[in-house]
Assembly symmetry: C2
Homo-oligomer: 518 residues x 2
């Protein structure tokens, strides 16, 4: 890839063209003012759809053919089944069989279960992937083996890109645990229930053709209709649409590591001392062992104080559901269920509410929910002395994670990163992050097992926490402590070749990931 690079607002050199389309460099938080109008799909007419509303076709292959599958198209899928998705692999097998070339796969996220797609990347069926590139696909791409350039987007950034027409989806394929023949679909019912289908919302609204695939066809009306059949072209019945057991990943258990537990406890103490845990507050903790522990500590504090949270954001899981059922939380606003308890709760409990990247995260809306959350707990692979953070690459430079909702959540009122000071004797707090995914101005507090750093921009918090017994330090002190223990980390050995762009929530390019030299 030979490209013109310019320096963006966080000092990173980024291309002004990606995969043949012009790209806008990051201009600072809130600085880029979009112009123009959102993407407008072609006007449909009921005259072109079955009079009785029955859109069933006999197979996914037939539906793809009727949707006009052809060279160069952009095909989207959602990741509510996480590592239990079976449809994406099937789509590209069919495409290969049909001899279709140069597709763009535009998933809301990819998982290790998608490793088989490397075959289609290698044989020309797929040109490139725009979406998270973790696991085996990340490894493949990090070696420079993908023809096009990856584009990493947050969940909200993906909605923005579709809404604004940055990405035009030709065919969206929506794996649905329950659907009717009109195309109404949901994720809460059926033997493959995965909770919700919010990550497919934009796809259903803006894609040229929409295919719903289900293994639980019910008579009209499928209630609730998380996906509205009025957006759907074809419905396909299959034996199994996904493996819900594989939604659960290893990170949905409370940590047992003493260090991580200590970080969790420090985080909760900090929040309490800073006065953030009060009646009617809100929080988003997400999955991951440390986050889950923090949620538990929050619960203890709420019980002790006799208060409750107005709402918690999911990724929902057993622990959050228990707090909802105990009455510690009034509502869960959920974007993604992380375990079977989350799915059950969303099905049974009207206080467990289905959200979407549109409501929660889309930066090109008239506001979104992210800014309304009092306490946001997030992870990071690296944080630097300017509070910039990285979530997509490891310190060895390999692209191994997606962004998820991470960037979007940075707009919360108090953004806390509870992270170990080092991992495998490599500092997590460092001079300069390998990849900037979030600008430091949006990150308020770093909690490590060896100290807590408050962003100096948060003079209010600095003031409130004066005299606290908590180990408040500067970020510089944390970095130095990490380096004292681990030594100064070796920078990854990158080639010039850009393998992926990292987009900010407004569609601008905040950084790039380069090919790692062997």
């Amino acid at each position: 890839m030979s490209v013109n690079l310019v320096k963006n607002a966080v000092g990173r050199m980024v291309p002004i063209e990606i995969n043949g389309k012009s790209a806008v460099p990051f201009q600072g938080v809130g600085a880029y003012k979009p112009t123009g109008r959102i993407h407008a799909p072609e006007i449909s007419s009921c005259a072109n759809y079955p009079e009785d509303g029955n859109k069933l076709v006999e197979s996914l292959k037939a539906a793809l053919i009727r949707a006009g599958l052809s060279d160069g198209m952009t095909i989207s899928t959602h990741h509510h089944f996480r590592n239990g998705d079976v449809i994406a692999v099937e789509i590209f097998k069919i495409a290969q069989e049909l001899g279709v070339k140069d597709l763009v796969w535009f998933p809301s996220a990819a998982f290790p279960c998608h490793e088989a797609i490397i075959e289609q990347l290698e044989n020309g069926t797929i040109h490139h992937i725009e979406g998270s590139l973790n696991g085996p696909l990340g490894e493949f791409v990090s070696q420079g083996k993908m023809r096009g350039t990856g584009v990493l987007r947050s969940h909200g950034g993906r909605y923005q890109a579709i809404q604004d027409g940055d990405v035009e989806i030709d065919i969206a394929v929506i794996a649905a645990p329950t659907a009717d023949s009109f195309g109404n679909a949901n994720g809460i019912d059926g033997s493959s229930a995965c909770g919700l289908l919010g990550f497919a919302l934009a796809d259903s609204e803006y894609a040229d053709k929409v295919i719903v695939v289900t293994d639980n066809l019910v008579p009209f009306p499928c209630i609730p209709w998380q996906i509205q059949g009025n957006h759907v072209d074809f419905v396909v019945e299959v034996d199994q649409v996904g493996i819900p057991e594989r939604i659960v990943s290893g990170t949905t258990k409370v940590t047992k590591s003493p260090d991580r537990l200590h970080i969790a406890e420090l985080t909760a103490q900090f929040c309490e001392e800073a006065g953030l845990i009060k009646d009617g507050f809100s929080f988003q903790a997400g999955a991951g062992g440390t986050s889950l522990s923090i949620g538990n500590f929050f619960g203890e504090i709420m019980r002790r104080k006799g208060i409750k949270a107005r709402f918690a954001r999911g990724g929902s899981n057993k622990y959050l559901v228990e707090m909802l059922e105990e009455g510690l939380i009034e509502y869960i606003l959920d974007g993604q269920t992380f375990d079977l308890d989350g799915i059950r709760s969303m099905r049974e409990n009207p206080l467990h509410v289905n959200t979407s990247p549109f409501t929660s995260y889309n930066y090109h809306g008239k506001g979104n929910f992210a800014g309304l959350i009092d306490i946001v707990i997030l992870g990071a692979t690296e944080v630097d002395v300017n509070f910039n953070a990285n979530v997509v690459t490891h310190s060895d430079g390999k692209l191994l994670h997606g962004i998820g909702g991470w960037q979007n959540c940075l707009f919360g009122k108090n953004v806390i990163l509870p992270i170990p000071l080092f991992r495998n004797r490599i500092p997590v707090v460092c001079d300069e992050v390998t990849t900037i995914c979030g600008p430091g101005e949006l990150i308020d507090i770093i909690v490590t097992e060896r100290g807590i750093a408050i962003n100096p921009r948060r003079t209010d918090l600095m003031e409130t926490m004066k005299g606290s017994n908590l180990p408040i330090k500067t970020i510089q002190e944390l970095k130095e402590e990490a380096e004292r223990i681990c030594g100064i980390p070796v920078k990854p050995n990158f080639s010039d070749e850009i393998i992926s762009a990292v987009n900010w929530v407004d569609g601008t390019v905040i950084d790039v990931v380069r090919k790692v030299k062997n």
Copy 2:
């Protein structure tokens, strides 16, 4: 209005330009193929909205000013409060106070409570109304007193017009019984609960500026969010947002008239004999004394047969809610609550489901729900020997009713018009309807107190009902019987002046209404 007229597919002379915009003559059911793309609002950015999501402004006037209210704008409101709306009148009082001129009012329907708006029509604040023109406004417009031309649209046609950009709304004002300061809103909670807000959905999605007005402000999140705050610019708190008691109209009681009861019974008998009432069937009966009675008769048949309906479409009311609660109906798919029982049921019962003109009626979607309904019961002011029907004008030519969902419902599988053969000694079944609102090819059965006519196009029904003891006649026979009793009706005395267009569900012009000569 001096205009070029052309003859459309039902033989009516219609203009090719209305209010300065080009208009397409009706081309036949399903014949018009729309081209182009749907209306695309300008891209917004969270950077231009309050960081904490609080969009409250101090008054409706302040919100209208901040929304840029100015001459010639199109202002929309919804009619879920029916005759209890208080916001529309308030908007145009403010506009008058501000000296704004030539507005277009684009309500989802107007009611007698809007009579005060005649003042702004007369003093130049409002140029014209596009929406139903019943009651005093209909009378005013029928006399040729409105400057612009009215455009009557069905509920689905209104969604289509907004979606396709036929009407661009500058400011939508959404009266909401409950809302949060982010703009999430619903109609089911609060002292002014009106049930749902589906008629404001398109407005919220496509209007340039959206103002939510509420008298029940709740902490974020307002659950459910029937209107999504992500579409909303400003939120205003007022003392009272509507008068829910006035949702109930005189037509929401079962008829006591022996003739109407007879019509209702004939209709139910016909449906049973024709085999339309079977396990898992669906129906839409709507309000009006005869329709409500038909619903009751359906209930009796279902109990007797031990079957249930998969769903019924609302307008919901006490009778439909009772059938849901009794288990005779699995779901109510509701577009509009007609009484307080409907509101309560929608709030409490997850089987009573919120729909919108998008899901139910939009003809320019990938299908809609209307075609999936087995039995559709509708009214009419006139039906002619070609089964064409009229719902907007009386036989005296006056424009006194809106279209509502009537045109949209014609796409049901069996469309039945239970109507009296004459009203006030004026035949309802006639040679040629005053105004064609629905083409005869979509109307299947006419049930009168003196006989039932099946549309000859329905050879299947003609066959099934052969040998029935029901009084099956031809439509010609019904017309002749009406004329024998009442005499041949006098045609209304129209001038040439067109006071309103009547649009078909696809946005084409199916007929016009002319000024009545005194």
